[in-house]
Symmetry: C2
Subunit: 246 residues, 2 copies
């Protein structure tokens, strides 16, 4: 409940400025029309309407953001995987934009803290994370156009999350792969995982991986498994040539 | 069979220039990289490969074009129908980008005449019209970016084809509506439909509609029904206020 801004009276000037600054930090550009972002984080339970009496909430923006995300991911995959057939590209895209994947993304960006709702987080369901992530993309499109939208998706989705070998199922677990490689190579593997939430509203975990006593990579995410995979993937990239030739 | 360019040897200089000019005319801009358009009209039956040995045909472009079309239509509907809920917008978009609708579009643009294939038109199936239309959109995106793509979709899809009241099912037939209105208003209705293919490879029909002896609108399309609807829709817009108030 404490994750959701419960606004029952009009926001004061200070709150507006706070929201603008939060958005600027999240988006890494200056928003032009802050109303779009306000809409992207307004849940229908507030029953808010705009000046024309139309519902003011994120549901329509979700539709728009979903379409923008689909086209940006399509263009990324088209260029990234020149050998991929139409069927392959379609399947990869479905995995990237799956509800589950989008919920993870929304959670990692901690978007829920901006949501204005009249119901508690426990009652809005898990899909709200992915839904507001899509709505945010829709808002960026309306505010700044396709290219900003594309840049945001590259920075927040493609670079940190899109991992073709893993999506293809060639690598199911980086952690497993690293452990197996260390065993074969008679290297000493050590992993340390601990809760590291700090002041954040969502639980976080940190991970350190050492090989032969030397720390190789760290990771931090909203679940133990994700943090471990993140750190293991970094180890993988540090030793990629050796692993592939082993 | 005569609709499909059957190319078994490399194109001569003259053929290349002809294709470039055809594309310029169709697209209403100067293509930068003609290879993309060449790919958009190359059927896999030619078994063509590019310099890296990858299949050179329109199938991957179809995936890309489909995604671009989806996002442009989504953004159009979002802005055009501010009262439309997420469910409404999704449903309207599905109708606009339905396979049937895209096949019609591809046929009306007569794109089949540019297709290079080793099999006859009878054997490629009806979906080829929609598929190459999508592939062409993919090619425009790669060649000129999102905004050209959007402009093309507005000119070739949205302006001539997207008819919200009809898609909503509020108007099922403009022809029926006009006839009924004329009967109520005791106006003399006359419709004249005739085959008008000319030199084109696909059969066309023309229509003229007169009311009280005065010609109000004409239409021309690839089926009798479509030509009649087109002309009737024009009559509808000429008398819209009177019809709505009747």
């Amino acid at each position: 409940m404490n994750f959701i801004r419960k606004i029952v009276k009009p926001s004061s000037k200070g709150e507006d400025e706070g929201f603008y600054n939060d958005m600027r930090e999240l988006l890494e550009f200056y928003p032009k029309k802050i109303e779009y972002y306000d809409m992207a984080f307004t849940h229908r339970s507030l029953k808010k309407v705009d000046k024309d009496g139309e519902p003011f909430n994120y549901e329509r923006l979700e539709f728009l953001g979903d379409a923008m995300l689909g086209s940006v991911i399509a263009s990324y995959l088209y260029k990234k995987v020149p050998k991929g057939t139409e069927g392959y590209l379609t399947q990869m895209r479905s995995k990237i934009v799956s509800r589950e994947h989008l919920n993870e993304l929304g959670k990692d960006l901690n978007l829920i803290k901006f949501v204005k709702s009249n119901i508690s987080q426990d009652n809005v369901g898990d899909n709200i994370h992915g839904n507001i992530f899509e709505a945010l993309i829709g808002a960026i499109y309306l505010d700044k156009g396709y290219n900003y939208c594309k840049k945001f998706i590259y920075e927040k989705v493609i670079t940190p999350y899109v991992d073709i070998p893993k999506l293809e199922g060639k690598i199911t677990s980086y952690k497993g792969l690293i452990i197996e490689w260390c065993q074969k190579q008679k290297k000493k593997y050590h992993i340390e995982t601990y809760e590291d939430t700090g002041n954040e509203p969502i639980k976080h975990f940190s991970v350190r991986i050492s090989i032969d006593g030397e720390q190789i990579a760290k990771g931090r995410a909203t679940s133990k498994k994700k943090a471990e995979e993140q750190a293991s993937k970094r180890v993988y990239f540090s030793f990629q040539k050796q692993i592939e030739n082993s």
